[in-house]
Every structure is written in structure tokens, then in C-alpha cells.
Symmetry: C2
Subunit: 543 residues, 2 copies
């Protein structure tokens, strides 16, 4: 098998091949220098575990400064909804007994977003357990003209999950039951409040994987994922939730339960209504249950982490990789040197390869470890031999794989510790993807702390982030509409995967024509005529 | 490489392995007996080519009996649309000069469906070339309250593409231009009237494949595929059009052009409007252009055709195959012995393996021929060794692969030559998938000519077909609602991939709850308030 390979192999590859041939369980292999397999507490950070996100809690670190109220920071006017009265509280208490939260302290966290950029002033949070309870809540709110803000794990990036004024927060936290899992088809049916990571664990124990994965997995809910049409780290391989979500149960604004919770791979009976709710960010209905197709768990997973000398080389590495790894390629992520600096600075994660201007993380998932290793070694030989990558490390066991992934997954977290974050999540043509980062870095100079670029390169998705000590209207003015206009000129998307929520709702027009906006408004009016569902979100403010 | 395999190999596998090892370009290999590689005009049928469908024409064979008018066969009442006047013809002639067809002979074919089960009496067919022309047509029809029936390749299976009364046929035949193709991303943008097979050829020459393939490829249009949310033969691998279609341009009922023709892999700016039109069967808008993501062309494709002793073995073969072939599995189709009999009888295609109660066609597509062959041989050894399959043949070159595929793809055609076809396209739980076929066969006895089952097993999709000398209301009464009730009891779908069109519109309720029906009606009313787009289709008759 091995002898068929080209003779021009660098030394490290021989080392690795030798290790394989000897059946050595080589946990992680590094090249271009001495082996850097870290011990516990070594260069990988203090703990060795990877708390990818502030798990199970979206509360602010106690030392964090208070977040300005959304209604004060932004010029936004409260719409004429009713105000929650004592009678309302009593009625709601009858619907979800013991699960009506009004304690101001308890309400602090759910009023603030993960990024600590927006803050609402809701005085009530409800914790339904069943779809019927959600239906009762909405029927009541609809009748009383009370506005509602649906909330999952509150990890959203665009201020969609927190109230803007005093909307009632309807949290899915207690809707965390798995309804069924089919061992042959891999179809999982569960309530909307199941945490993604818990679902992952559940299906992995049964030989399957969730078709999506994101850095927020420890907190985000599957209902929130569907409501935002989350992309994430497996999009390249398993595609969009629009294909993998098989069915939804949704409660409409007036409390009607719409049961489209089918488990069928194919169903062309009439319009596919569930699509309306995927990505609608809680503005058209509250998702209460999800049916999703889980692919079989790959028996072999490898992660390579490479350093690249320039962005052109990152792109060429991607093309090479797609050609040579084909169907086993499951992720292609990139980050720039600034990102690496920040995860080092704030999270004490060490760079596992030589310092480089760019890094890529490549994951393969396949059904034949030997075949995959052979494909991967051919690819690595090619990119390292040709100088597309200057250094690299490979992980094949779960722990090391997680460590490499942490470097990429925890960038969001590192950024949020760096200060106020101006976040842009753009789809751009691959060849122009990084130009905007360089351009902005020059443009902003010392006005920004950091300007970083990373993201799901394989999907043409750039996360452009700018950090500063604090929120500043003038910095915002330099960034916007500049970033959006730049993106629009490239026919890009001003929100690739994060959605629009509160903070991006007015930029929709950069990616969609007026006819589309009008139809969206009509759909909103059809499904939520009183506008009680997540008001001030997703659709532009009507002027 | 070979020596690692188990020693318990049957003789044929040794033959094959020997052939591989000797570098013999074994074009097609058969087992369990003498090699059956056919010469031209041999058991594969007369021509050696595979005219998978009556290409480029949906006209009836000249000898075929006249098809009864839909309005006479079914109790359906014309809605109060205007009737096309001489003034209208003059106005339409100004919009699409020289492309207004009124010749009764030319109108015969587009008035009748591919299956020859429904017939309209349209007196006008229009052949626009551009979206602007479609927009003008619809604006005019909308104002004049003239009903319209959009038509692509007219290969639909549910009577959706032909008028029911005198609707104006808007054909996309001349809208067959490719707009752009991106060699790195694989994004194809084209007009709606491009024939699927032509697109396949185009992208394959550039190293990509279309993410969908169907037996009707020689005639069906990409716009029709999207309008029906076609599934087909590659669904198992590349998933639904809901994931692979990146953008659409659609003309709305009032002539508004909705341009959502983005080429971005990800775009979460507002509601995903294109999803409304995917699978809406021409009832919500006319699709004029499509942007679609084409996956890279696999460098190695293999097709195995196996005979299985029972349906339980078919299912076990599927599970084994999914486990052992993993990411290279690209199709898993099945057909029963009756299907094989019909393709033999009507198309003179010979069975390439020993006669069996069931046959499966398994396709692999991968990036490493050697790896794929190794995986496949392991799998074949397993299923043949364990008796899950009793005989098999393998094709690795394009011509033989096409021949094996023809057996499966041309079943629809063979059935249509067998008489009047009662067609059911169901999603069912895998373990009950074939029960309905056996059940009906017993139930119908001599009332039917043939009762056959085949389909996309990997997607849980059964095509159940019953043939008879001619249409008979009493046979229909025996079949319906029985088939639908049976399906509903299994929580199945009464239309997995064909849609509802005219013939299935009233069975929607078997797979969708009343709340869903109501929302569909509301969407129709929102997008097409006058109901001029493909009336009498998709949504149930209001009573
Ligand atoms: C560290 C980190 C990494 C991330 N990585 C990614 C990534 O790779 N890709 C990506 O796409 N996103 C990513 N995100 C963003 C975020 O995690 C996703 O948007 C996630 O899907 C949100 O889920 P949630 O349960 O936290 O929803 P929330 O934040 O609670 O809500 C998000 C939106 O959905 C609505 N909503 C929530 N639940 C429901 C429901 N049941 N019914 C109706 N509406 C509802 C809310 O009203 C709000 O508008 C990341 C976030 C963090 C913090
Ligand atoms: C031999 C054979 C094999 C087949 N195999 C499969 C299969 O494997 N999987 C599968 O899903 N289907 C299959 N079909 C069914 C059929 O081919 C598909 O439904 C196909 O997608 C229809 O495309 P078309 O261009 O022929 O559309 P048509 O038949 O012309 O139209 C179908 C419907 O779409 C509407 N429509 C067409 N074009 C437009 C447009 N531009 N805008 C709006 N509405 C439009 C029509 O009004 C009609 O309601 C098969 C058919 C045949 C004859």
C-alpha cells in the first residue's frame, strides 16, 4: 500500500508512516521540528478540557461592566403593546404554574445577550415544558396584545434573543426532552430546548452524529439553531438545516399548534411550511419540537492544523484539499494570526505549529481509517512539499482533536474578552474573502484594538471582527455602512449564518432587493398580524 | 493490500480480484456463473444506447389511444377566469412576437401529460425567452384574469404541468441559456428551461456533476425540477434541492420579478423566500432562473447490481452497505421481479443477474478508485457470502454503468407501455415499505395487470404502480383511499417526490394536518390573490 506513494517524502511523513506501520497509536503528530505533544497543563492551556462556551449560563462574568440598555443605545421606539399587569401574571401563573420568573436578579442574564451588546428590560420570563403550554401562552399574549421574545440558549450574535423593551421572554430551557430516536434511519425527534451538545452525546452513543456543530454547542438549543438556521462547523459536509431538518412543530402567534413534525426523508405534499420557520428568528412562530436527520458517525476522524504563509496559499490549500480528500473532507476552517494571538492572550491556548500569517484546520471524517490516512498523507505531502503550508500538526484521537478544534471554536470567546466586539458575518466570493480584513485593518489603524478574520472558508463565510475598549458610535460610523457596502459590491451576504436579529435588521437591503423585503413583510403580517412575536427584529424598521 | 482480506472468498471474487491485479480493464464483471458481458444488440436491448425517456418530446406515440379530457374524467368545474380573446392573442403576440402557438396540432402534446392520464384543452401556448417576457405575460394575464399553466419538460407524474381547462400554457422551452458557471465553487446559474441532461453534460465537462439526476433527465427542465422539488437518484448522496438550490429568480402572479438569484452558499438575511417556490408546482410563481451548487465530479464511480432472495435481505443489504461503504455510497435503488419482467417485456432489456425476487442497484462515487474498489469488494464479499444477495454484477466503465442504470431508470417508461398506470409515490418506514405492495397484489388479484414496487430505498421512497388495460373507476375505487389510508397509518407521505399536481391534490390531508392546509391556502392567497397560477393544482378543492 505504502510503496505506491511517491518517493519524495519529507522526513516527518516518514516518521508518521513508520509510526502507522508499526501500529503505534500516534496520538498527535507534529512536523517541522521537534514533537510538540503537550502534557497536561502544557502549551494547550491550563485544564486540558475545552469549555467551548460559558456553559449552561449566559450570565455576565461578575466583573463585567453593565451593559447599556438597548432602548438607550439605539434610537428605537416601543410599539403600542400592552404592559404586563398583575392580572396577566396571575393568568400566566395558571398556564405555567411555578415557572413564571419575575425576580429582577434572575431576569438579569436573560435580558443581556451573550456578546453583552444589548440589554432589554423584560420583567417576566416563562418556562413552559410542553407545546400545549407554549400554545396557551401565545394565545393569551395574542389576545392581550403582549409582545413576546422567544429565547433558547441565548448565544445568538445579533441581539435577537433578548427583549428590546419589556417583551415577555419565553424560554425553552425546560423543553429538553428527547421524543424518539430511530437507530436505523438516524432520525432524532426532540423538544426545542435540548442543548446541542447533549443531543450530540446522545446520538453519538448510538452510532450517529448531529449534522451541525458549533462553538456554542454547550449552551445553544436545537430550537435556537433552527430558528437562526445556524451554519457552523459541519455545514461543508452535511449541508444546511434546510435539508437535514425533516420536520418541525411550531406554535403560531395566535397559539395555533402547527404540527409538521414528520420523520420522513422526503415529503412533497404541498408547500414545505417548516422552511418558513427555519431562520425566521422567532418572528413567525415559536419552534417547540424538531425532527432532524443524523448522519452515521464516521469511524475515522482526523484533524490537521496547518500554518500558511499567505491567504492565496490558504485558498490553494482549500482547492487541493477538496480535490484530494474529496468525500472525506468534513471541515475547512481558517483563522488569521491575530486570532491566534487573542486565543493565546485571553484563553492561554498555545499555537500548535510555527507562527504563521494564517492557519487552517482541516477535518476528515470517513468510514475507513486506513484509506483516510492514505488520502490525508498524500494531501499533506502535497501542500507541505509545495510550500502552500509551512508547518502542520495532525490529530487522530478525540482529545487532541478537541484541542485543535478549541483553537478555532473559542475565537468568539477570546474576542468577547478583548472588549466590545463589532461583529460581521459575511458571505463573500472566496478570492476576495480576506481583502476586507486587510482593508479595514489599514483603515482603522489605532482606532481598533484588533481587526481579525476567521471563519468557515469552505462555505465562503468570513467572520470579520473588530474589538475596541468600549462601544463607540464614531468607530461604528467608520465601520458601517462601509462593511455592508463593500459586501454588497461583491454580491455577498451581510449575514451568512448569524441572522439579523435586532442589530442587523436594517441592513437586510444590502443583500435583498425591495421586492423581497416587501414579501417578507407580507409573510410577517400573515403569520403574526399583531406583530407580537419578537418585535423590532429581523425585518427593517418601517419608516 | 489484497492479502488483508478474509480468506473465505467465493470463486467469482477471486476472478475479479485476479482481473484487477493483472490490470485487466474489466469493464463489467458478473458472478455466479459464466461472464455475461453482452455485445451490441445482446441481452441489453437492441440499441446499446439508453433513451431513458422519450427525449425532447412529450408527445404520444402515434398509435396511442386518445386521452380522455380531464374535465370529463374528473368532476371539476371551471373557475370564472376570462377566456382568451382575439385581443388577448394580439396583445400576447406583442409580448412574445412569433412565439404564440395556437395551432391545434402543435397544442396536442403540451395538453397531455407524460403518463397520458390527463388532457387539457388550452388553445394558446407561449414561449418566452426572458424573465422580462414572463413578467409581461403574467402582468397581462393578471390584469385580464386569465389563468396560466407553467410548463417545463412536461414529465411530471401528477398532472401538474398540463392545463385542466383552457389555461394559457407558459412553456420554458426557449429559456435554455446558461448564465454563468464558476469553476472553483461549482455554482451554476441558468435559465429555468435548461434540460437537466444538457446541464449535466455541461458541468461534467468542467469537473462537476449536477446534484440531482432522474430518469426524465433527457426532457425535464431544471425549472420543473425545482418547481416539483424533484428527488431522484442522487438524493441519498447530495440531499434535497432545498439545500443545493442557492438562489432563484421568480416571476410572481402579478408580474413582479423577485430576484433572489444569489450564488452564496450561506445567506441568512431574512426569510429564505426561494423555499416558498421550491416544490410549489407553479402555483405561487413562475421560476425563471436557478442558481445551483454542483458537487465536484467523483473520479471513481462503480455500480453493483445484485439479486436478493427477499425484501428483508434487501433491507439488510442496505444497512450493511451504509456501514461498509459510508461516504462513497451514492445511490441505493431497488426493484422487484415484476419490474424486471416489464423492462424485459416492453423495452427488451435483459436481467444481468440470476432471476431473483428483488434486485438492488448500488452506486458508489468517490475520489480514490483503489480505495472505493477495496471498500466495495469487502461489502460484496459480505453480502454474497452471507446470502443477503444471491448473485451480482459490477460495472466500472461508463457504458456498462449506464446499462445497469437503464434497468432502474426506465421502469417508468416500461410501465407506461403496459397500459393505464395508477401511480403512487410514497414515503414509508423502511421496515414496512414493501408490505403495501404484497398486500395490494393479493387484494387486486386479476383486476390489475401488474402490481410493482421499486424506488429510492435509501430515502424510504417507494414507487408503487398498478397497471391495467385502461382507466377504470372501479379499480381506482379499490386503490383509493385504501393506499392513502394505509400510508397515513404508517405516518408516511402520500407524495414523497412527485408532488400533488392535479391528480393528488385532494389527498394532501392524509399527510398534513388541517392547520397546515389552512396556512398553505393563506400563502396561495397572499402570493396569487386571483388564483391565476396553475389553478386546480396542489391545494385541495375548496368545498
Ligand atoms: C461561541 C459561539 C460560537 C458560535 N458559532 C456559530 C457558528 O459556527 N455558526 C452559527 O450559525 N452560529 C454560531 N453562533 C451563534 C449562535 O450560537 C447560533 O445562532 C445558535 O444557533 C443560537 O441558538 P440559541 O439556542 O442560543 O438561540 P438564542 O440565542 O436564544 O436565539 C437566537 C434567535 O432565535 C430565536 N429563537 C430561539 N429559540 C427559538 C424557538 N424555540 N423558536 C423560535 N425562535 C427561537 C430567538 O428569538 C432569537 O431571535 C455562535 C455563538 C457563540 C456564542
Ligand atoms: C421517466 C421518468 C422518471 C422520473 N423520475 C423521477 C424521480 O426519480 N424523482 C422525481 O422527483 N421525479 C421524477 N419524475 C417526475 C418528473 O420528471 C419530475 O417531477 C420533474 O422534475 C418535472 O420536470 P419538468 O420540467 O418535466 O416539469 P413539468 O412536468 O413540465 O412540470 C411539473 C410541475 O412544475 C411546474 N413547473 C414547471 N416548470 C415551472 C417553472 N419554470 N416555474 C414554475 N412552475 C413550473 C408545472 O406547472 C407542474 O406543476 C420522473 C418522470 C419521468 C417521466
Amino acid at each position: 500500500m505504502m510503496s505506491r506513494l511517491a518517493p519524495r517524502w519529507p522526513a516527518w511523513l516518514f516518521w508518521w508512516r513508520a509510526a502507522c506501520a508499526q501500529g503505534v497509536s500516534a496520538q498527535q503528530r507534529t512536523w517541522a521540528g521537534a514533537s510538540r505533544i503537550p502534557g497536561p497543563g502544557g502549551p494547550w492551556g491550563a485544564t486540558g478540557t475545552s469549555p467551548l462556551v460559558r456553559r449552561g449560563s449566559s450570565s455576565a462574568p461578575s466583573c463585567a461592566p453593565e451593559v447599556m440598555l438597548t432602548r438607550e443605545r439605539y434610537s428605537v421606539r416601543r410599539l403600542p403593546f400592552s404592559v404586563v399587569s398583575e392580572d396577566d401574571l396571575a393568568a400566566l401563573e395558571r398556564i405555567v404554574p411555578g415557572r413564571v420568573v419575575t425576580d429582577p436578579e434572575e431576569l438579569e442574564a436573560p435580558n443581556v445577550d451573550w456578546l453583552r451588546t444589548v440589554r432589554g428590560s423584560s420583567k417576566v420570563l416563562l418556562r413552559p415544558r410542553t407545546s400545549q403550554e407554549v400554545a396557551h401562552i401565545l394565545r393569551y399574549c395574542h389576545e392581550r396584545n403582549l409582545a413576546v421574545s422567544p429565547q433558547g440558549g441565548n448565544t445568538g450574535m445579533v441581539g435577537g434573543s433578548t427583549p428590546v423593551f419589556d417583551e415577555i421572554i419565553v424560554s425553552t430551557t425546560l423543553m429538553n426532552q428527547i421524543v424518539s430516536f430511530h437507530n436505523v434511519s438516524g432520525v432524532l425527534v426532540c423538544q426545542a430546548g435540548c442543548v446541542l451538545e447533549a443531543l450530540s452525546r446522545y446520538v453519538e452513543e448510538r452510532g450517529f452524529v448531529m449534522p451541525l456543530d458549533l462553538g456554542a454547542k454547550g449552551s445553544c438549543h436545537i430550537g435556537g439553531n433552527v430558528a437562526t438556521n445556524a451554519g457552523g462547523l459541519r455545514f461543508l459536509r452535511y449541508g444546511s438545516l434546510r435539508g437535514t431538518v425533516l420536520g418541525l412543530e411550531v406554535v403560531l402567534a395566535d397559539g395555533t399548534i402547527l404540527n409538521c413534525l414528520t420523520s420522513l426523508r422526503k415529503d412533497n405534499t404541498g408547500y414545505d411550511l417548516k422552511q418558513l420557520f427555519i431562520g425566521s428568528e422567532g418572528t413567525l412562530g415559536v419552534i417547540t419540537a424538531v425532527s432532524i436527520l443524523c448522519p452515521p458517525k464516521p469511524s475515522a476522524v482526523n484533524v490537521a492544523f496547518l500554518g500558511c504563509p499567505g491567504f492565496a496559499e490558504v485558498l490553494q490549500t482549500f482547492c487541493t484539499c477538496r480535490g484530494m480528500l474529496g468525500e472525506i473532507l468534513s471541515a475547512f476552517e481558517f483563522m488569521d494570526a491575530e486570532c491566534m494571538k487573542l486565543v493565546g492572550l485571553h484563553l492561554r491556548l498555545a499555537c500548535p505549529v510555527q507562527e504563521s500569517p494564517f492557519y487552517v484546520l482541516i477535518e476528515t471524517s470517513g468510514s475507513g481509517a486506513g484509506h483516510d490516512a492514505e488520502k490525508l498523507s498524500g494531501f499533506l505531502e502535497q501542500v507541505l512539499g509545495s510550500g502552500l503550508a509551512t508547518d502542520g500538526t495532525l490529530a487522530t484521537d478525540q482529545r487532541r482533536i478537541k484541542m485543535l478544534w478549541a483553537l478555532r471554536e473559542r475565537i468568539t470567546e477570546a474576542l468577547s474578552r478583548d472588549g466590545y466586539v463589532y461583529k460581521y458575518d459575511l458571505s463573500l466570493p472566496l478570492d476576495r474573502l480576506y481583502d476586507l480584513v486587510s482593508d479595514l485593518r489599514a483603515r482603522l489603524g489605532l482606532h481598533a484594538k484588533h481587526v481579525v478574520g476567521y471563519g468557515h472558508l469552505g462555505d465562503g463565510n468570513l467572520h470579520l471582527n473588530v474589538t475596541a475598549e468600549a462601544f463607540s458610535p464614531s468607530l461604528l460610523g467608520t465601520l458601517e455602512p462601509y462593511v455592508y457596502e463593500w459586501t454588497a459590491r461583491q454580491q455577498g451576504s451581510v449575514s451568512a449564518e448569524h441572522g439579523l436579529g435586532f442589530k442587523k435588521k436594517d441592513v437586510l437591503g444590502y443583500s435583498k432587493p425591495p421586492e423581497a423585503l416587501q414579501l417578507m413583510q407580507q409573510l410577517k403580517a400573515l403569520l403574526d398580524p399583531k406583530g407580537i412575536l419578537n418585535p423590532y427584529k429581523t425585518l427593517p424598521t418601517r419608516t
